[in-house]
């Protein structure tokens, strides 16, 4: 029996112009899963991700993280939750421009207070090594490639050993080789037990997940469960996902 780490109940999001992006979405994200949210442009994928992570306010419904409602948390409580329990990777690299890659990672650790400063610095070095950007750690984001920056962003997201890693189209702005590298890293993290919730419309990224959710017009339409990712089965997985998506008329 899988344990739900994050739950969304009756989630609604309506913009001031009346546009309903999410319509009573009920969703559960399970511990140690690599969950993928898919859907056409404008389906509400990113909106659902941000609603579930508490980065955006919902206009209706509730979100529970480890059985605790987070939609009612104050701004400070939410900041603390983000620092200690959540990690974020965005489509654009979104690193602080005047901090080096190492500092970008370490600062996230300092604010989360997940260890002593020395422990955090050691962990930051280790993560950057793991993400294969150790050599660029003292450079500013403007002076590294998009792939390096995105890998540093993943290291930053992982510094606090988050309960859940949110990724919003993390390969959307990368070239093919960088995309593969980033996906491999995320897959490796998941294999080590990291729960991941990722939004993508890229087939290559989607097949990395073991559970795929399909969103259309703000409603959760269907889901697909896959076995854990194995590189050897990639073609088979792509076929399964393609079939599933074509059934959904994507």
């Amino acid at each position: 029996m899988k344990q739900a780490i994050l739950k969304g109940q009756q989630l609604c999001k309506t913009f001031p112009d009346g546009n309903e992006i999410l319509q009573s979405v009920d969703v559960e994200i399970y511990n140690r899963d690599f969950t993928i949210i898919m859907g056409a442009s404008g389906a509400g994928k990113s909106t659902l991700l941000y609603a579930l992570s508490g980065m955006d306010k919902v206009t209706g419904g509730k979100v529970f993280y480890r059985e605790k409602e987070i939609t009612c948390l104050s701004e400070n409580q939410m900041a603390s939750l983000r620092a200690k329990e959540f990690g974020f990777v965005f489509q654009q690299t979104h690193l602080v421009s005047n901090l080096t890659l190492f500092e970008n990672v370490a600062v996230a650790g300092y604010i989360g207070k997940t260890g002593t400063p020395k422990e955090i610095q050691e962990k930051a070095r280790q993560l950057l090594r793991q993400m294969k950007v150790e050599n660029a750690k003292d450079r500013l984001p403007a002076n590294v490639s998009g792939g390096e920056a995105q890998r540093a962003a993943i290291a930053r997201a992982m510094i606090g050993s988050p309960g859940l890693l949110f990724a919003d189209e993390p390969t959307g702005a990368l070239n093919r080789s960088n995309t593969e590298e980033v996906l491999d890293l995320l897959t490796a993290l998941n294999r080590n037990g990291q729960s991941i919730l990722m939004v993508t419309h890229d087939m290559r990224a989607a097949v990395r997940g073991n559970r795929l959710l399909y969103l259309e017009d703000g409603k959760l339409l269907d889901q697909l469960s896959l076995p854990p990712y194995e590189e050897a089965e990639i073609k088979q997985r792509e076929a399964m996902v393609s079939q599933w998506l074509s059934n959904l008329q994507w």
């Binding site: 980065m55 974020f88 654009q92």
Partner: protein, 782 residues
């Protein structure tokens, strides 16, 4: 047409920054025009009113004269004299609201036909026609009596004309304007009375004999045949050829009086001019920052406009015009607001200056100032806009404006301990150009506030600095006996309150120096004089002089001057230069033995000056002595009436300075902060996403301004420490004060920097309120 369209679009796009420029220039214009109005009007009004009041090229106050008209005729007979006018007066001390006067007042016989004076309405809201006559038992006084004594209409003033309670008691009927004796800067006050009151006082005086406390006299206004003639030579000639010196109490030239009356107003005006200049420089610093930020913000747009045929010159003209609109509107509004502001100032200063300075806008001066400021600003804007030349379509596409031009190696590291401060430092160092404007503003404001603080520290809460500058020697209490009262008697009273640490005697008789009237400070312990240079006048053939006397006569230490008094003349060697700002520095210091070679000695000449073990008992001793001996004794502390006016003006000045600084810092912080917040919106989103709370981000934001303000404050404080004394000394010399040296305590030195830093921190925190509104969805890819 496209020019107008783009201009409108720019005005809309940069409305925040332009509004800031508008407000800054409004403040500059408001302060400048107000100061110009007060300065110009007081400089023209005081001499004009002195002419109306009938002051001659020289005005002599005489006493003990049997018939002033005879002396007037004697003086008028001189070829160098065009005519004389005389006003009958009675010198008398007075008591108002249980406070004894510090100096003698002058009961002036009012003659409405002379039309010398202007009369205020009871509420001091303006003028009223002069009364046809003053009622018996009534008196008109200067409004400065309000600030000195808290006087009100209906109050009684007691003039002790003779001993045994032979007083003249008059009721205040209203206020009149006296451009000289009306000011709280001047100790002697004029009292306009009618003929019957004058006759009553005269009758008491004539029957009092040796019991007389008041003195009969006159003010003789002497008009020179040649108005250009040197006043010193003119005075020397009259003294030589007439009997004037036998009766003269003191002599002042019209130039000296108006100079003295204007000197502090000019000094304060000069100070405010300098402050307006500082505000202008600060506004220019912010304007420069605004131009630079706007170019960065409009970089792409300008690149695109160049692709469709706009030249750099045309783009510059649009930019220039948008700033000029904000600047001119701000300046014009400042000009309009200066009218009510000047009105407020003229009424606020009425009870100190005794005159209602007109608030007529000096249009030509304003036009000249505005023209000069606009020329400077146009030049500055065009210089700052030179970078528009470098905008190219390709540069805009490549985003050249976003180049990172820093190296992290030289920057302080980010530390877990003090994380917010180290982040603030990093943000500050990596975008320091954004903060240069605010830092300059901090330097300028701290420098000016420090300068004012140092002046205030020199002045002291009780005006000791000023008193030391005016008094030839220090003391706690001065007592002069007018009757039989002996030194032993009043010393007994003093000792019942406090031990006497030290005592010396001082007299201030009139003497002539090379034939020109001067006041002499005669002392039995010449080493007590505030000596600046040389040696004290210990020998009976030595004198000390002020820097101003030295300059007037072109003499120095070792030279000789001829000093004369009622017993004759004698040459005295100048042994040193001392500091005493009395009579605008027109005085000399001499030993008792030295003076007695040329002047008569009589007991009431001398004033005993005491140093007390417990100076806090001064008020109690004064009260007891006055109760016991009334008019037989005159007691003065180390103070004078004008001092409170100066202290109040200084405090008002500092209040204005800090109020303007608060406004300026608020605008500067909001302008700079607004730009930075816009530029760093994404970074704030990232920080929030990794767990920073809005409060902590606001803190780092405020820290940046705090760090920048500390830097500016340190520089401003150092600049003030280096430049205050020479700068203020220059202005003080205009008032006859030659020994200005500020020795502020640590608190005074640190206060301006601390307050400016605190203001930047607070306003930085306030400006960062927008951080709370930054939504994390800003990080969502479009």
């Amino acid at each position: 047409m496209e020019f107008i369209t783009l201009l409108k679009a720019n005005l809309k796009r940069h409305k925040g920054g332009l509004a800031g420029i508008f407000i800054l220039l409004f403040l500059v214009s408001l302060s400048l025009v107000t100061v110009l109005t007060i300065w110009e009007n007081s400089n023209s009004y005081i001499p004009a009113e002195m002419r109306r009041a009938g002051f001659g090229d020289l005005t002599v106050w005489v006493s003990g004269i049997p018939n002033p008209d005879l002396l007037s005729n004697e003086i008028s007979a001189l070829d160098t004299v065009e005519r004389t006018e005389s006003q009958k007066i009675i010198y008398s001390n007075y008591v108002l609201r249980e406070q004894e006067s510090d100096s003698e007042g002058q009961l002036i016989l009012y003659n409405p036909k002379e039309n010398r004076y202007r009369f205020f309405t009871d509420s001091l809201s303006g003028y009223q026609p002069q009364p046809e006559k003053i009622q018996p038992g009534e008196v008109y006084v200067s409004p400065s009596m309000i600030s000195i004594f808290g006087a009100e209409i209906g109050d009684e003033i007691t003039f002790p004309i003779a001993r045994a309670g032979k007083n003249l008691i008059l009721k205040i009927a209203g206020w009149y304007e006296d451009p000289f004796m009306g000011s709280s800067m001047i100790g002697m006050k004029g009292f306009l009375i009618d003929g019957s009151s004058y006759d009553a006082a005269l009758a008491i005086l004539q029957n009092a004999g040796i019991d007389a406390l008041a003195r009969n006299g006159a003010m003789i206004h002497i008009f020179a045949a040649d108005p250009e003639e040197n006043r010193s030579l003119f005075s020397a000639e009259i003294n030589e050829k007439t009997s004037l010196s036998s009766y003269a109490e003191f002599v002042h030239s019209k130039t000296a009086i108006s100079g003295f009356m204007l000197v502090l107003q000019n000094a304060f005006s000069g100070f405010l001019f300098a402050f307006a200049a500082v505000l202008l420089l600060a506004a220019m610093a912010m304007l420069g920052y605004q131009i630079q930020s706007a170019i960065q913000q409009d970089f792409v747009n300008m690149g695109i406009l160049k692709t469709v045929g706009f030249t750099s010159k045309r783009l510059c003209m649009i930019q220039l015009l948008q700033y000029l609109i904000a600047i001119i509107c701000g300046m014009l509004l400042g000009l309009a607001a200066a009218v009510p502001m000047s009105q407020n100032v003229r009424f606020a200063t009425l009870t100190t200056t005794g005159i209602l300075i007109p608030a007529k806008l000096p249009f030509s001066l304003c036009l000249l100032s505005f023209g000069s400021i606009l020329s400077v600003l146009i030049g500055f804007i065009l210089w700052k806009l030179r970078n528009v030349r470098h905008v190219t379509p390709m540069g805009a596409i490549r985003g050249e404006t976003e180049k990172q031009l820093f190296s992290v190696k030289r920057l302080p590291a980010i530390r877990a301990k003090g994380l917010y401060a180290s982040l603030a430092l990093r943000q500050l160092f990596t975008s320091k150009r954004r903060y240069i404007g605010a830092c300059l503003v901090a330097i300028l404001l701290v420098f000016f506030a420090s300068l004012a603080g140092r002046m205030d520290a020199w002045l002291g809460t009780d005006g000791k600095g000023m008193m030391d500058a005016f008094n030839p020697a220090d003391h706690d209490l001065g007592i002069q006996s007018f009757g039989e009262l002996t030194q032993e008697t009043f010393e007994k009273t003093i000792r019942s309150y406090s031990e006497i640490i030290d005592v010396y005697v001082l007299a201030m008789p009139n003497v002539t120096v090379n034939g020109v009237d001067f006041t002499a400070n005669v002392i039995d312990q010449p080493e007590r004089f505030h000596l600046i240079e040389g040696l004290p006048a210990m020998a009976d053939n030595e004198i000390v002089i002020t820097e101003f006397v030295a300059a007037d006569f072109g003499v120095g230490i070792g030279d000789s001057l001829t000093i004369g008094a009622d017993l004759g003349n004698h040459a005295y060697r100048i042994s040193g230069i001392y500091s005493c700002a009395n009579d605008m520095g027109q005085n000399i210091g001499i030993s008792r033995e030295g003076y007695l070679k040329i002047g008569s000695d009589f007991p009431n000449l001398w004033c005993w000056h005491y140093f007390l073990a417990d100076p806090s008992q001064k008020a109690a001793i004064t009260a007891e002595l006055e109760n016991a001996y009334g008019g037989d004794i005159h007691i003065h502390e180390n103070t004078w009436p004008g001092l409170y006016g100066i202290i109040s003006a200084m405090q008002a000045l500092i209040l204005v300075l800090y109020s303007m600084s608060v406004l300026f810092i608020l605008i500067v912080t909001i302008m700079t902060g607004g730009r930075i917040l816009t530029a760093e919106q994404k970074d704030f989103g990232i920080y929030k996403a990794i767990g920073f709370s809005s409060a902590s981000l606001r803190m780092t934001f405020a820290f940046r301004f705090g760090i920048m303000a500390v830097t500016g404050s340190v520089l401003g404080t150092v600049l003030a420490a280096v430049f205050t004394d020479p700068l203020v000394s220059f202005f003080m010399k205009l008032a006859g004060i030659s020994n200005f040296a500020s020795a502020p305590d640590l608190g005074t030195v640190l206060f301006p920097g601390a307050i400016i830093t605190l203001l930047f921190l607070c306003f930085g925190w306030l400006a960062a309120r927008k951080i709370e509104k930054i939504d994390l969805t800003i990080l969502v890819a479009e």
